[in-house]
């Protein structure tokens, strides 16, 4: 029997051939599940002030709470929050901001890229110069400026990241669309009298997706890092929201007194998340890049 594999099936099998990618995928699955089910797997809601006990502040990992209710496996921070709970809740914001901004930016950027490729001429030139300008400027500086202007807030951070990220998708979508539009299947579709816009969205866009997915994965990692960095600098998420960057900033002042855990554990969680995403993204790039397939 001849097994017929679709391109995507082959991609999945190809993907799973790398052990590091599987490790990344597993770690990522655990992190996503933990973030989704945070209230059920943590002993306290670290952002409900009623549940915190200031007397429990800055306890070392493994210490028990004053009344002996539970054990702080990763210690507590300056406000007496259970660090494990705070990290799991912080991951929620990280993933929300990372995935949210990447999705919005992907939709906007891809649309702009397709329009640019479709329109050509001065529209194309103008849009691509704008993209060039955006990409040539360092992200962190733009983010600082935009957030200084908008003020703190989860929504503002997402907006800032979208402004920084859409250009990557736009450039890739445009380039890919131009390459694809010279292929024979497009010629065939044109011969059938299908409108240009429908060819673009229905035929060319699906074939542009692989590189866009790779960019998406890497941009999620970048967005999570930037959110944490901006929150650490005091320009991102407000202190009432859970954020790994804020936890790390909170721990900075106690670190010199050798109370290492407040900064170390949230950072490790952040690092693990980003490494996992990058491992998956790196493998995706190898699998989806036709130039590397032998």
């Amino acid at each position: 029997m001849i097994r017929v594999e679709s391109l995507w099936q082959r991609g999945v099998l190809d993907f799973l051939r790398s052990p590091m990618a599987i490790v990344g995928l597993l770690i990522l699955a655990v992190i996503v599940l933990a973030a989704l089910f945070a209230p059920w797997i943590t002993p306290q809601n670290p952002y409900d002030l009623m549940q915190l006990d200031v007397l429990d502040a800055r306890l070392a990992p493994g210490a028990t709470s004053g009344e002996g209710h539970y054990t702080y496996w990763l210690g507590t921070d300056g406000q007496g929050r259970d660090l494990y709970s705070a990290i799991v809740y912080g991951l929620r914001i990280s993933l929300l901001v990372g995935v949210g901004s990447a999705l919005i930016a992907a939709v906007i950027g891809t649309l702009v890229g397709l329009v640019s490729a479709y329109a050509g001429g001065w529209v194309d030139a103008l849009l691509m110069r704008l993209v060039d300008l955006l990409l040539s400027f360092p992200g962190i500086l733009m983010a600082l400026m935009i957030l200084a202007w908008l003020g703190k807030g989860v929504g503002n951070v997402v907006l800032t990241l979208v402004v920084l990220e859409w250009a990557y998708y736009a450039r890739t979508a445009r380039g890919q669309a131009l390459v694809e539009s010279r292929r024979e299947y497009v010629e065939a579709a044109r011969g059938q009298g299908i409108s240009r816009w429908r060819i673009l969205v229905g035929h060319i866009l699906p074939n542009c997706l692989p590189p866009l997915i790779v960019i998406g994965a890497l941009q999620i990692a970048r967005a999570i890092t930037l959110e944490a960095t901006l929150s650490f600098l005091g320009l991102g998420v407000p202190i009432t929201e859970p954020s790994l960057g804020l936890l790390i900033a909170n721990g900075f002042q106690f670190m010199l007194g050798d109370e290492y855990w407040i900064s170390v554990f949230p950072g490790l969680a952040l690092l693990l998340t980003i490494v996992a995403i990058n491992l998956v993204g790196d493998r995706l790039r190898d699998v989806l890049n036709p130039r590397l397939q032998r």
């Binding site: 962190i140 950072g267 491992l279």
Partner: protein, 324 residues
């Protein structure tokens, strides 16, 4: 070539102008500096006088023209907070930032190129695989967190290196240098390493990719067939050809290194332009923020221009493409 150069310079100037407009309009939307700078105990007349002194009573376009006129003469306004010329303030701090950025890039080259060369020559060696996975971790490390970890390990725990400040400097050519004192070196090491980590991964990957691409080419085989020693082939033929794209990328990376120094400088209390800008954002010191952005834009556009011109001079293929 001269026509192309003229057009390219024109483009660069246009980009700078566009950026001045964006920066100026954008920053005017950030709150009213009057509320912060002028005490509430002033009466109305004193308020108006203070506003006029800062030039904030004129319409926005007038303020922009004044700003642009000043900018062409090197005046970007006086700092609201430090009461000094904003550009002067930035330029005073810039050498410290440059020193940090160059040290980081140098570190990235010294560590990244040999490792990348090894990984490219022996791609199946287990050390090479380790390096490639390690470089993913290097890309993933949140640099602000690494900074804290470096401080914790080397300053708090081991007590080997200082955690903040620039240490003793020595003047040379009218500029203070950390490179010229031992104390300065000790203060420089941790922030430079922090800033370099990402670049080490980048250089390693670029060098490896370059070596892998060049090794199977005919001129390498020919060099071997000529009977040159493997070391000579590696250094003179393979490495040299890898360095061209590497230098380009690093030239462009200098800009982003200076930008990311904002984070490193603020953690290590390095007295550079990045720390100044972060403080200025928090105090709404608009002239300093504008001056800093202008300086960064000029640095960026010049770097891009320089790389473009060098590329045309070095690579005849790019020149031909442009002539068509």
């Amino acid at each position: 070539m001269s026509l192309w150069l003229l057009r390219r310079v024109g483009q660069a100037v246009l980009v700078m102008l566009l950026m001045t407009v964006i920066v100026f309009v954008g920053l005017n939307a950030i709150g009213n500096p009057v509320d912060i700078l002028i005490g509430e105990d002033l009466n109305q007349a004193e308020r108006v006088q203070a506003i006029a002194r800062l030039g904030l009573d004129q319409p926005l376009w007038q303020q922009y023209i004044t700003f642009l006129n000043g900018a062409t003469h090197g005046h970007l306004g006086k700092s609201f907070v430090h009461h000094e010329d904003a550009l002067q303030l930035i330029l005073q701090r810039l050498p410290a930032t440059f020193e940090l950025a160059f040290s980081a890039l140098l570190m990235a080259i010294v560590i990244g190129v040999p490792l990348g060369l090894f990984a490219g020559l022996y791609p199946d060696h287990f050390a090479s695989r380790l390096m490639m996975t390690g470089s993913i971790v290097g890309f993933s490390l949140p640099s602000f967190w690494v900074a804290l970890m470096l401080i914790m390990l080397f300053s708090v725990h081991l007590g080997w290196l200082p955690a903040s400040g620039r240490g003793a400097t020595r003047e040379w050519l009218g500029i203070q240098w950390s490179w010229l004192t031992l104390d300065g070196w000790q203060h420089l090491l941790l922030p430079a390493l922090n800033l370099a980590l990402f670049k080490i991964s980048l250089v390693l990957r670029l060098t490896r990719a370059g070596v892998r691409e060049i090794l199977p080419q005919d001129f390498v085989k020919f060099a071997r067939a000529k009977g040159l020693s493997p070391l000579r082939v590696t250094l003179m033929h393979v490495l040299r050809n890898t360095l061209i794209p590497l230098v380009t990328v690093l030239g462009l990376e200098l800009g982003s290194t200076i930008a990311y120094a904002v984070v490193t400088e603020s953690i290590f209390a390095w007295p550079g332009a990045g720390k100044l800008i972060l403080d200025s954002i928090n105090t709404l010191d608009r002239p300093v923020v504008v001056a800093y952005l202008m300086v960064v834009v000029v640095i960026f556009v010049s770097l891009n221009l320089l790389v473009d011109v060098l590329y045309r001079l070095l690579d005849p293929r790019v020149r031909l493409e442009g002539a068509q």
